[in-house]
């Protein structure tokens, strides 16, 4: 089970009678960027939320950094992980949301400090320094004392990325990080994500940005109707899709 940073086997998830994920496998090596693409309702966001146990599975197994996510196996019996250990797992997995979800009652700096000081128990001064460095890294140091409502969507998303990075995650999950942005703001967020990939961060990115997938992605996964239809290098899949459904979808978005 080692050597992969993220491994998912036969992941199934239903909401009531609706089966959203019907057996998803995924393997992400350390430092790899995997782009997950598919029409809305294909289950890609749900799958991403399963990776850090925001959703519980009906079947399947997920390992992140070698740990089984959400459960432990003792004597062949699966046990729900105690909250404390689930929290430790989540702390290693950074998540960036489509709608940012910055804490509106805290400034940009306080948002980034929140994880280190609340979860990692870092001192105020250290957390402040770390948060300052991270805001600098995403180009937001001049806005560190602004509240989220005073920032543009692109700026909020960059702060949200810094907030996730503050936990020193082993892997970063991006759930359509640019879908809620005005077109002219998409570039600044993708720029930060490119830098992150260049620094060797393992990333799973649910996106509609084919340019980003082509340029930055190592692996391209096309999902539809709760299954992985096709996977390969971005150049291969985007250049010569093997399945009809992939081709049909790509012809609409490219």
């Amino acid at each position: 089970m080692t050597s992969s940073m993220v491994r998912a086997l036969g992941v199934r998830k239903s909401f009531g009678d609706l089966e959203v994920l019907r057996g998803i496998d995924l393997d992400v090596a350390p430092g790899q960027v995997v782009c997950v693409v598919g029409p809305s309702g294909s289950g890609k966001s749900t799958f991403l939320r399963c990776l850090n146990h925001l959703e519980t599975l009906q079947a399947g197994r997920i390992w992140v950094d070698g740990d089984l996510v959400g459960y432990e196996e003792r004597n062949g019996q699966l046990h729900v992980l105690p909250e404390k250990r689930l929290r430790a797992q989540r702390a290693k997995i950074g998540m960036v949301f489509q709608r940012f979800h910055l804490f509106p009652h805290k400034t940009a700096l306080d948002n980034v400090m929140e994880g280190p000081s609340a979860v990692r128990g870092m001192s105020g001064a250290d957390a402040r320094e770390l948060a300052g460095d991270l805001l600098d890294r995403v180009g937001m140091s001049d806005r560190s004392h602004h509240y989220p409502a005073q920032l543009s969507g692109g700026q909020q998303q960059r702060v949200a990325i810094a907030r996730a990075l503050a936990m020193s995650p082993k892997v970063m999950l991006f759930d359509e990080p640019t879908s809620a942005l005005d077109p002219e703001l998409v570039g600044e967020v993708l720029g930060v994500m490119k830098d992150l990939a260049a620094d060797g961060m393992t990333m799973v990115v649910v996106t509609h940005e084919m340019g980003f997938a082509r340029e930055v992605g190592h692996d391209f996964v096309f999902m539809d109707d709760g299954v992985v239809v096709e996977r390969g290098t971005p150049a291969d899949v985007l250049g010569a899709p093997q399945h009809e459904r992939t081709a049909a979808f790509l012809s609409k978005v490219l």
Partner: protein, 309 residues
């Protein structure tokens, strides 16, 4: 006027500033005139009415017995609100619990205490000794008792008032707290969880501070209502401001003058509470850029009425 050159600005074209006269609005003038007359007439009749005994009002405004009643009213309000908020938070969390037993208990509490008049509840608590003649600490269901008290010795008018007011308040606060907690975007919880925060941290650091924005304004209104609702305890000899006022006017028959004395104190308290509310809300409104001006806050609060009793 000919259309001016498009490049001209207000600076070089002062004739473009709008300083227009309005067509006559007779309805507004007549209405304002009648209202002003009515206000003046009302003030005049009050000022010159010999039955109001303004001199008595002045004499009794700071009368020690009145001040003692005022102090009891303040104590009743503050303690009932503190206990009521604590009960409300507990009941709200129970309402949102995944346990069916918890949800049922909370629903039963709300159903009972919001479904019966506060006045009835107060009289009930005052007469609780008729059901439970003594209170004791020990093993339930007839087991040994460590200590026992006469109910009447413990549940005085003041205690009965506190029980009635705070338990009733808790039922109303529960709904306010629940609405506040539910107003917070579920994404906030998820963002906090994905950072690795514990349930308690998510609640304390992320959800509650945002819920407070929704919880504080109606809670301030509840506090202001409570200042006035405490007057109900006069029926169980609660020794509050209205109780002592009534006792005084039953002796000296200065009914109106003494009610004015009490009313002035109620107005002072509600006004001060409104000012306090303004600053608390300002604190919790950080990052949202919304604020109600202080003056309209005071007048608005005084007119808001309570649903209960």
């Amino acid at each position: 006027m000919a259309q001016p050159d498009i490049a001209s600005t207000v600076e070089d074209r002062p004739d473009l500033t709008i300083d227009a006269t309005h067509p006559p609005r007779p309805g507004r003038w007549i209405g304002a005139g009648l209202t002003a007359f009515a206000l003046f007439w009302l003030g005049w009749t009050i000022a010159v009415n010999p039955n109001l005994h303004w001199d008595v009002v002045v004499d009794y405004q700071f009368y020690p017995v009145i001040l003692e009643g005022l102090w009891v009213t303040i104590q009743l309000t503050v303690i009932s609100m503190v206990v009521g908020v604590a009960l409300g938070i507990t009941a709200a969390l129970m309402q949102l619990s995944e346990s069916r037993v918890m949800r049922f208990a909370a629903a039963a509490y709300l159903w009972f205490f919001r479904g019966t008049p506060l006045l009835v509840q107060l009289i009930f608590w005052f007469n609780i000794a008729l059901i439970f003649t003594e209170l004791s600490i020990g093993v339930p269901f007839g087991g040994p008792k460590l200590a026992t008290w006469e109910t009447n010795a413990i549940v005085t008018g003041f205690v009965a008032a506190l029980l009635g007011l705070s338990i009733n308040e808790g039922a109303y606060m529960s709904e306010i707290v629940r609405a506040g907690l539910q107003s917070v975007d579920p994404g906030q919880r998820e963002a906090a969880q994905s950072l690795g925060m514990s349930r308690v941290q998510v609640m304390r650091r992320v959800v509650l501070p945002q819920a407070m924005r929704v919880i504080i304004p109606p809670t301030g209104n509840q506090f202001i209502s409570m200042l006035k609702t405490t007057s109900l305890v006069s029926v169980i000899a609660g020794a509050d401001l209205l109780t002592v006022t009534q006792r005084l006017y039953l002796e000296n028959f200065e009914v109106i003058a003494l009610l004015i004395v009490a009313s002035i104190w109620y107005l002072v308290m509600t006004t001060l509470a409104s000012i306090g509310q303004h600053f608390v809300e300002k604190h919790y409104g950080r990052g949202y850029g919304t604020s109600v001006p202080l003056r309209s806050r005071i007048t608005r609060n005084l007119t808001i009425d309570r649903r209960k009793s």
